[in-house]
């Protein structure tokens, strides 16, 4: 089937959409599946992870395993780490990145790293194409701006700086197959003087939609991070940061207080580890 035909079908009839099925089937509980669905894995236009011009395009049929196997710049290390933490190998082999953002739970594993990568979402319908920043695309718990006649066809990520380094941390109550209590993505790039020239921080599972920490990013941008004193200043910023973006709740996985406390602690650690990575580039290429 072609994409055009699928869009035509959707225009006539708002069928459910299926890709890897890892959300589709569990949502049915034990009920039978609807007999008809648009299967994005059958649309050749939606496959692959490719660099197009100055953007990386992650097709709607691309799985987490494909992402792990793709040759991507170091800025994608965080999202690769997130991929390894998605469910299990069986889930990674099936689940798609686009599927992860289409009915996003607050704990959708891909959202923090994609937000930190400034990802945008491509939607197509029979009449055309539109592009929305990921942070605007997701409108709430399991809701998005997708209209019933639209398909999310790809995620686009602007090609990152070669100097950008990243890390992802997921906190859960067991090793595999776990929904996070909290997770965060840290992306940092430094210039030749060892000053932060790009900083993107995002936290998941602590608000209805994963959040970028824009105020903290602004405070960190431009800071020097070469010396221990400078790094202590970074830590102090995190210590005093109010995390107003977050609105965690108490649930079976943890309390709201716990989430805030732990995000602060883990952010410090993760940020310091990414800073070390950035510093090691400048020491390799003085």
């Amino acid at each position: 089937m072609s994409l055009a035909l699928a869009l035509k079908q959707l225009a006539n009839n708002p069928l459910p959409v299926i890709a890897g099925g890892t959300d589709f089937y569990p949502a049915l509980q034990d009920g039978a599946a609807p007999a008809h669905a648009i299967d994005v894995t059958q649309l050749s236009e939606l496959k692959g992870i490719t660099l197009i011009g100055n953007e990386w395009r992650i097709g709607a049929a691309a799985t987490w395993t494909e992402l792990l196997q793709a040759d991507l710049p170091p800025a994608f290390n965080a999202i690769k780490a997130a991929a390894r933490d998605v469910g299990s190998v069986q889930i990674q082999n099936r689940a798609t990145l686009v599927g992860n953002i289409c009915e996003p739970s607050p704990a959708a594993d891909g959202v923090p790293t994609l937000l930190a990568l400034d990802a945008s979402v491509e939607l197509q319908h029979a009449g055309g194409t539109r592009r929305i920043a990921l942070q605007n695309f997701i409108t709430g718990v399991r809701t998005t701006q997708r209209k019933p006649d639209e398909l999310v066809t790809a995620i686009y990520v602007p090609a990152p700086l070669n100097t950008e380094r990243s890390a992802f941390t997921k906190l859960g109550a067991r090793s595999y197959l776990v929904i996070s209590i909290a997770m965060l993505a840290v992306h940092i790039s430094t210039n030749e003087q060892g000053h932060i020239n790009r900083c993107a921080l995002a936290v998941g599972s602590c608000s209805p939609i994963a959040q970028r920490l824009f105020d903290l990013e602004t405070a960190l941008n431009g800071l020097a991070i070469n010396t221990a004193t400078e790094q202590q200043a970074v830590q102090a910023l995190i210590q005093s940061y109010p995390f107003n973006e977050l609105s965690p709740i108490d649930d079976v996985r943890g309390t709201a207080d716990y989430r805030l406390t732990v995000v602060r602690a883990v952010l410090q650690r993760t940020l310091l580890s990414v800073i070390q990575q950035c510093l090691s580039i400048s020491s390799v290429h003085p």
């Binding site: 589709f24 569990p26 069986q90 090793s175 595999y176 079976v252 943890g254 732990v262």
Partner: protein
């Protein structure tokens, strides 16, 4: 137009909608019953198959997506794939399959890894298998089997004390094993259950006749009105209080009110919301605290304040002795519901033949099931046949009937075979759980660290129906001292009805909860006295010649000191390691803190002061083949092998030459239920007696020229024997004094772990488990029990919490994965018991009793965090750390 793909090397075309789940297509339309289904949500990995060589959960794959592709399941890989065959062999050699329900998923998931790398490291094996849950093994033998397929050694010693491969192991690793959902005939009708959506509800039916008449493919609906016998069952006669179908009010969420039976094709897509019933939610009480309020309506008429029953043991004068104690420790703990989470949901089928009914499915208690079905159908017990299929884990919950009365009733009325398969959600909603406990203890000791007194008060949430609640209430006071000498003791328990799923039997019958409080108190006292925590326990360990808190005195069989002594070196080393690691961590400003914990446990084997016989039958047929009628249900723990080993040794016939006939109430005599750690001890004794008796009879025929010339009896045997063993116990008086059990087993475990003091996350590093098993009949199976028990103890301590209505699946209810279980060293201690076969004691429940307290004591040792509200999830650990500082 069908969907064509390659299945296990052959082309197949299936006429199904493109969105049909691959798992169901393979099992129900392509005869691949080696693909198991445990959750239908990608949470358990049982249905793992290879899609073009990559592991996927078949329950999440629309069949349309496999068109033109290749699917491999275990049965196919076992025909063609050398690495899978080798791995299957390795599973058998290592004892990596227990119940075997997860084994196909594990073998398939490991195959892509082994194709790449025949000798993977442990981390690679964990990453490959992280998506397959196992509830029996504790994963360690699975890891060993996957990492060591290239270095296999065979153990040929099948005698008692040797570790032959499990006698029922081979079909478990080939995918041929038939579990409860694998045996129904193709023409079986399918039954679906209509359940209460509320914790408490009244309900009324609409026009059921019209529903049946107007719903294509639906044959019948059954409600309480259709029960010919008694709409009431239970497990302990005075406490039969549970209906098959609720009559006017539902007492828990998930309680059945009706069953709909129809053609398989129609019932596959059956939507319970289409059934004509309306529920009206009523005010529910979910905790004992609420239920015991005087204004709350009783769930059951005879239970004042909703207290179902009480247990009590007293010796000496605890109150005065506590007052006189130099040091006292007071501990209050709260535990939640724990779900058994066997990976096989309940399933089975029934078929009526004339005026008899036969049931095939999973169970731990075939004779008790038989009697319950007879009473529900109003027929004689001899007209009910209960055949145990391979049972995919039980741990106590499959003692109670669940699927059985539903299909029995339907097949009885319809005179057609009827099949039912519980979904994971139904299984979790409606079957029994471990009792939540609220326990308050006070222990006192003198200035030398001798424990002098204990006071124990425990309230257990028994849910909507009694089930094994009385057993929990009675067992806990007998065990709450731990395996220690305590002269002044008073323990009281209450089991309280609430509108929750019934609590029942779960590995330990309440004793694991009690041990948590007691062993925390022991750490507290040891610290107050300034004694080493192991030395403190050794100082107080029960010894031969000293009375237990029920006044029982043993002469030679008490093995707790030996268990503690066996841990001494590991304890010293672990404490040194922790001290050094903490010194380094502090110097490096690390957030990790290391700790070691220890705990003991004991457990009486068999029923408490009640008759508890097992009978084993054996015969020699005209071909000279020795047949063993072994009715002790093997739910993965290994009874088929252990009972056969004991029989083989006593009879003098090689294990390999014995034909095993497993549990079927028509042909195997009653070997009791698989519970209370009784099968090795009680059925083992019966097997030993039967083996010796058969040997004696055979020797008398020693000079017979040809067996085939001898007359055969009605069973086709030239000679046959049937032997019964019933453990000697004595009743308990009003103070709980007496001889509740003939045999106790003893255990001590230590846990090493690391606490992240910034996140509260606990990383387990190592366990050493010393168990007094009397005589190790099969050491590899024992290690498997220990590792599996420790894994369940880890779940209890760190992650498991069933919240009725909220955690009814395996992604919100977490059990340990292969990444959560550290190395577990087993030390087998053999202090022979005069009653045990070859000296053997039971083990099945002992294995998890010390685990949770050892972990909690280690968390405290590492971080100063005393977590008393279980599970100790990271948020609770962190809160306890903050409280401490």
């Amino acid at each position: 137009m069908g969907i064509e793909f390659e299945l296990n090397g052959a082309n197949i075309v299936l006429e199904l909608p493109a969105t049909h789940r691959l798992s169901d297509a393979l099992r129900e339309h392509a005869q691949c019953r080696d693909v198991k289904v445990g959750c239908n949500a990608g949470d358990c990995g049982l249905c793992t198959v290879l899609l073009n060589g990559d592991a996927v959960c078949a329950c999440l794959v629309p069949i349309g997506q496999v068109a033109g592709k290749r699917i491999d399941t275990l049965s196919g890989l076992m025909q063609t794939e050398a690495v899978t065959q080798r791995l299957a062999n390795s599973f058998l050699m290592h004892g990596a399959a227990q119940c075997g329900i997860c084994t196909p998923g594990l073998l398939v998931a490991a195959t892509p890894l082994l194709r790449e790398n025949k000798t993977p490291c442990e981390q690679a094996a964990k990453d490959a298998l992280g998506g397959v849950l196992c509830r029996c093994t504790g994963y360690r033998k699975i890891l060993a089997a996957v990492c060591n397929t290239e270095a296999l050694t065979t153990n040929n010693n099948a005698r008692v004390g040797g570790s032959p491969m499990r006698v029922d192991g081979y079909p478990k690793v080939t995918g041929a094993e038939q579990f409860a959902d694998d045996v129904a005939p193709e023409n079986a009708l399918v039954l679906k259950v209509i359940r209460s959506p509320y914790h408490r509800a009244s309900f009324s039916f609409g026009d059921i006749d019209a529903f049946v008449a107007n719903t294509e493919g639906v044959h019948a609906v059954f409600t309480h009105n259709d029960i010919p016998g008694v709409n009431q069952f239970g497990v302990i006669p005075p406490f039969f209080d549970q209906p098959v179908f609720a009559e006017s009010e539902c007492r828990f969420k998930g309680e059945p009110v009706a069953a709909v039976v129809g053609d398989a094709g129609v019932m596959h897509a059956f939507n319970p919301d289409s059934f004509p019933v309306s529920f009206n939610a009523l005010e529910a009480v979910l905790t004992p605290e609420e239920a015991m309020q005087p204004t709350v309506k009783r769930l059951h008429e005879n239970s004042e304040h909703n207290v179902m029953c009480e247990g009590f043991v007293q010796c000496g004068d605890a109150k005065s002795a506590l007052k006189a104690a130099s040091h006292t420790a007071t501990v209050h703990i709260e535990t939640g519901f724990v779900e058994h989470a066997y990976l096989e949901p309940e399933a089975g089928y029934a078929i009526r033949q004339g005026n008899r009914i036969s049931l095939y499915g999973c169970t731990q208690a075939p004779y008790m099931n038989r009697d319950s079905i007879a009473s529900i159908l109003g027929i004689d017990a001899k007209d009910v046949q209960m055949v145990s299929t391979a049972t995919g884990g039980g741990f106590g919950s499959k003692l109670d009937i669940s699927w059985q009365p539903l299909v029995a009733l339907a097949a009885w009325h319809l005179k057609q075979p009827v099949r039912v398969t519980f979904s994971r959600r139904e299984s979790m909603q409606s079957t029994t759980k471990r009792h939540p406990a609220s326990i308050q203890v006070q222990f006192g000791c003198d200035e030398h660290g001798k424990v002098t007194a204990a006071h124990f008060d425990g309230v257990f949430n028994t849910g909507a129906y009694a089930s094994w609640g009385p057993t929990v209430a009675n067992r806990v006071p007998i065990h709450a001292s731990g395996p220690y000498r305590i002269a002044h003791y008073r323990a009281r328990t209450q089991a309280v009805y609430t509108h929750c799923a019934p609590s029942g039997a779960f590995r330990g019958f309440g004793v694991p909860q009690a041990a948590i409080a007691q062993e925390i108190a022991f750490d507290d006292l040891a610290n107050q006295v300034g004694m080493d925590r192991l030395a403190f326990r050794l100082h107080n360990a029960l010894r031969n010649g000293e009375p237990t808190i029920t006044g029982q005195v043993f002469d030679g069989a008490v093995g707790i000191s030996e268990c503690l002594n066996a841990l001494e070196k590991a304890w010293t080393d672990a404490n040194k390691r922790a001290t050094l690691a903490n010194k380094n961590a502090i110097a490096e400003h690390s957030h990790q803190r290391f700790g070691v914990g220890i705990a003991s446990g004991w457990y009486g084997c068999g029923n408490t002061s009640l008759p508890n016989p097992s009978t084993i039958k054996a015969g020699v047929n005209a071909d000279g083949v020795v047949c063993l009628h072994q009715g002790a249900v093997d739910i993965g723990q290994g009874a088929n092998t252990v009972i056969a080993q004991i029989f083989s040794d006593a009879c003098g016939v090689d294990l390999a030459d014995i034909r095993l006939i497993s549990s079927d109430t028509d042909i195997t005599p009653d070997a009791g239920k698989t519970s209370a750690s009784r099968q090795t001890f009680v059925s083992g004794n019966a097997a030993k007696l039967a083996g010796a008796a058969l040997r004696k009879k055979m020797l008398r025929l020693g000079n017979t020229p040809s067996w085939s010339d001898l007359p055969v009896d009605g069973d086709g045997y030239v000679v046959q024997v049937s032997e019964t063993y019933d453990p000697p116990t004595l009743p308990l008086d009003e103070n709980g004094q007496g001889v509740p059990y003939a045999v106790y087993g003893y255990a001590a475990q230590l846990a090493e772990l690391c606490v992240d003091i910034e996140t509260g996350q606990v990383t387990l590093l190592n366990f050493v488990a010393a168990h007094d098993v009397g005589k190790a009949i099969n050491p590899v199976l024992i290690e498997g029990q220990i590792q599996g028990g420790v894994a369940q103890g880890i779940g209890l301590a760190l992650m498991e919490s069933f919240i009725p209505g909220r955690t009814e699946n395996l992604h919100d209810y977490l059990i340990p994965t292969i990444g959560d279980i550290p190395p577990i060293e087993s030390i087998l201690v053999e202090v022979a018991d005069p009653h045990g076969p070859f000296g053997a004691k039971g083990l099945g429940e002992h294995v998890l009793i010390p685990t949770a307290p050892a972990i909690l004591n280690a968390i405290y040792h590492a971080s100063g965090a005393r977590v008393t509200n279980l599970p100790a999830t990271p948020d609770k650990v962190l809160a306890a750390i903050s409280k401490d500082t």
